[in-house]
Amino acid sequence: DAGITQSPRHKVTETGTPVTLRCHQTENHRYMYWYRQDPGHGLRLIHYSYGVKDTDKGEVSDGYSVSRSKTEDFLLTLESATSSQTSVYFCAISGDVGHRGYGYTFGSGTRLTVV
């Protein structure tokens, strides 16, 4: 989507290996989020960030870590990938409520397969 890109778009990795997914934004938004999408579960929040070096856990954070060293980049790391982490991962960005057009903008997603 315009203003937000995710990389890679697809990845296959082996169980036990570390994996890092990248989210890059050009909107200068304060908030960034990582969600995973699984059938029947909708989207579930993994981690989010409310500023550089300010991050917090979501509802499914076990096995994941994040870092945000610059406003534009939010990295999601699977420390030791497991098959249960096979999923589609979405990054989203958001301005403050008072920001015109408030609401999440989503990236195109990363399809991760752990074998």
Binding site: L45, Y48, D96, Y102, F106, G107
Partner: protein, 115 residues
């Protein structure tokens, strides 16, 4: 913490017929409400949102939703669907004025428009 229930996992509908997708939420505080659409192999796109004011909200592509505080519902409607409306639809809620703008999503409703 808030939660969202989308009462129908799949909704088949004929082209040019009306459609209603049901969404109920639970929260102990004031909320913001959203509907997103996801076309196959794409990210999520904002259809409409309720932040405050008029309870009838109009969005893109002819969709509208009505916020009913007493019934804690935010149902999505379209009076006449097109084949191109075939997609998955997600209802989401966030706590108004809460830090982080975190969204909680429902499980999604797949709409299949038949000719």
């Amino acid at each position: 913490a808030q939660s969202v229930t989308q009462l129908d996992s799949q909704v088949p509908v004929f082209e040019e017929a009306p459609v209603e997708l049901r969404c109920n939420y639970s929260s102990s505080v004031s909320v913001y409400l959203f509907w997103y659409v996801q076309y196959p192999n794409q990210g999520l796109q904002l259809l409409l949102k309720y932040l405050s004011g008029s309870t009838l909200v109009k969005g893109i592509n002819g969709f509208e939703a009505e916020f009913n505080k007493s019934q804690t519902s935010f149902h999505l409607r379209k009076p006449s669907v097109h084949i191109s409306d075939t997609a998955e639809y997600f209802c989401a809620v966030s706590e108004a004025k809460a830090a982080g703008n975190k969204l909680t999503f429902g499980g999604g409703t797949r709409v299949l428009v038949k000719p």
